[in-house]
Symmetry: none
Subunit: 243 residues, 4 copies
Amino acid sequence: MAPLLRPLQPQSQPPKVRCIHPGILLPAKIDRPVSLLYHRSMAVAGKSKKDVIQEFRSTEILEAARHVFALRGYHAATIDQIATHAGVAKGTVYLYFDSKRDLFLASLREGVLALHAEVAAQLRSAPTPQAQLQAFINARFDYFARNRDFFKIYYTEFPQLATVTGQPELQDLYDQQAKLLESVLADGIRSGHLRSCPVPSTARLVYDLIRSALAQHILNEPADNPHPEATVFQFIWKGISQS
Amino acid sequence: MAPLLRPLQPQSQPPKVRCIHPGILLPAKIDRPVSLLYHRSMAVAGKSKKDVIQEFRSTEILEAARHVFALRGYHAATIDQIATHAGVAKGTVYLYFDSKRDLFLASLREGVLALHAEVAAQLRSAPTPQAQLQAFINARFDYFARNRDFFKIYYTEFPQLATVTGQPELQDLYDQQAKLLESVLADGIRSGHLRSCPVPSTARLVYDLIRSALAQHILNEPADNPHPEATVFQFIWKGISQS
Amino acid sequence: MAPLLRPLQPQSQPPKVRCIHPGILLPAKIDRPVSLLYHRSMAVAGKSKKDVIQEFRSTEILEAARHVFALRGYHAATIDQIATHAGVAKGTVYLYFDSKRDLFLASLREGVLALHAEVAAQLRSAPTPQAQLQAFINARFDYFARNRDFFKIYYTEFPQLATVTGQPELQDLYDQQAKLLESVLADGIRSGHLRSCPVPSTARLVYDLIRSALAQHILNEPADNPHPEATVFQFIWKGISQS
Amino acid sequence: MAPLLRPLQPQSQPPKVRCIHPGILLPAKIDRPVSLLYHRSMAVAGKSKKDVIQEFRSTEILEAARHVFALRGYHAATIDQIATHAGVAKGTVYLYFDSKRDLFLASLREGVLALHAEVAAQLRSAPTPQAQLQAFINARFDYFARNRDFFKIYYTEFPQLATVTGQPELQDLYDQQAKLLESVLADGIRSGHLRSCPVPSTARLVYDLIRSALAQHILNEPADNPHPEATVFQFIWKGISQS
DNA sequence: CATGAATGAGTGTTCATTCAT
DNA sequence: GATGAATGAACACTCATTCAT
């Protein structure tokens, strides 16, 4: 189980001068799964007032970006709209992010990391593969219900950018999430709860299935299915469980 | 079963002079399932040399568009690139398509229709729900293996445009395909081969699952899984079959 | 009086190969004022069937041009619209006119020449300066009432092109018409009916005044003045007559 | 008399951020006729440095626009030429004006308003209808002698745009000016100085007559008439005065 | 001669990014 | 640091003109 709980490694970014928001990346080699927010407050403890303001601005802009990107799509969104939404001037955005692309990636990254942290925390307290799969599904449904804007860009813009532009970082972000599932699957197969299968591709399949169910649930209001979590769990469980 | 076999029908477009390619096809009361290609060859029989040239140009441009859109993404692709790739001048593109968006939609549409036709044809010769599901999966894997560019835009641009821009036509294009599966599920449940389930959302789930498996297969070269069709079929079949 | 009756001299065009419509230019040195149409039929007498067809096409296109130019303005009008309106293909227009500009000028020219001919004919039968002024005004009101499209381009496009583009030919076309009035004024002053005044500028003034009155009459439907010809005559006559 | 003296009022535009120049002015109940320029200097008193710079840029661009529009005509003029002439980049033009059309209208509008203000001021100090007519003529000759570029677009582009394009604002701009004359005529007829006549159409006639005289004077250098103001005044006065 | 498909130069407009204040 | 005016590269789209058939 342990591997699950390892937080995502921060990409070893060459320390770019103007990147002031390293807080969104989780420190490596920490055994206790800690939420992103926890980390942050820790960090804040050692920060000057200036740093606090900076982080505040950065978060504000990130949120505005998420909202506007979700609303208009990456290309149609303009820096001006985001700045206005964040209550800052256009130039200010560039004090915190190198480019529009960078801002977009940061907003994706932050969302994915927070999601990852929550999911990992839930997984940790689940004793069996069945409970883990349920936890995985429920945590994601929970998180995205609270972060619909994020889901929209995660769902609609991610594949576009990840595939078309050779952005390995983006692919990593994606893969990291499937890795959590791979652990569940591998552990379950080892323990005999799950039937043998090609782990990576099955994990990806399960992952995408959950993603699709989320899309139906989050993006289309009129759901014919009041408990999509249960349905999707059933579906997956039939597909992977022993017996 | 019958409904499955109905091919998509071309919308009865008011015959716009410059629009050579038929729009999205809607089901209609035609018993003999005919492929789009069949239809076309029929039509060609009555065409003058001029018409042939026009269709040729149009196809040329459509193919170039598909390629460039797949390569750069919708927004990054320029009409100039497409024109150059098609071996025509920029203005020529506008003789055949009203706008960049129109060109994009046309390339999606044509691809989806051809896919739909092939899938429907395969479904028709499958006697049982199991065989139908296999046919559905195999036909799609076959088609996209032969049309990788198309898969790329289908996979990466579709959600973006369908969700962000309120393009009902696009959503229709998407839905039409899930309808084929709904028929399979509904028939299977009725005949007792499949267990009862909420048909539309399950169909969508299965559809998306296949789509995701395709993405793994088509977009990522190094597959750990030599027979993704089989894996995905197994997975789904466990999820929906009786017992 | 005699000078009045001299028709406009054709501009000594270098005989451009593709200019098939020289008929719209009046021959010089003809004492009897002849209408443009009369001239044409004369000319036609010596023409082959081909020539007749050509002239017919040319006239058709010219009329279509006048209509479309009047409707959309010079710049917004397209050759395609004109061709369609004339019932020919776009390329055909270029068989008869060198360029869009050429077509525009030709349509202006033809209209002005016909107008000139009619006005000159009326002037000829007017015995006194007063009658001549009345004839001048009435002939113009008559002509433009029958040729509203022409008036529109004459009024709205002429100044633009005549002033902005250094098109001497256009200026000539304009000046020729004021010359008719100059003759009336000069004769009237010589005979003592009119008070002395700077002839060219007064002629131009009177000319423009009539043009303005026409604009009110032709372009604005709701006229508060049922007899603009009378009003404008009175106005001018007070301005130029003796005592 | 009073109505004459009312200056045009700025339309109470919803304060669009980027619109610095007031729109067409409509008459209102202000007794002291104040010139637009006077108004401006007042305003400047309360302006920050930034505002001054903005107004400067705006004026600069407006002047460049006037010049280029006068030189090439509306359609042939390009934003690039105007920007270059104003010493700014193309994009900058769009910071101050929404579109080419907007820029053109603004330059027309500003010129017309300044003209209107000057004319109204002159009219105010003229005691009799005769003096008013003289003031009207002289003020216009003065103004346009100082603003030749403006006259060119006023004269050559106005009719084209006002007639062809259904731009009511443009027609208003035109009409506002004739209204000044209508007041003069109406007052004169009431006081018995002028003979009875249909006021609106006569005003328009007189207005157009002056406009034509100006065109001769401003656009054609070689004038045979050293004092066109006097000539045109005489001409009009004979046409409208009693006896 | 007539056609109309093909061309490609030309332009209004947008918007990410910079930088002087 | 924060601002927002200025920039100019980029791009969709138009349309007069040509020319092969």
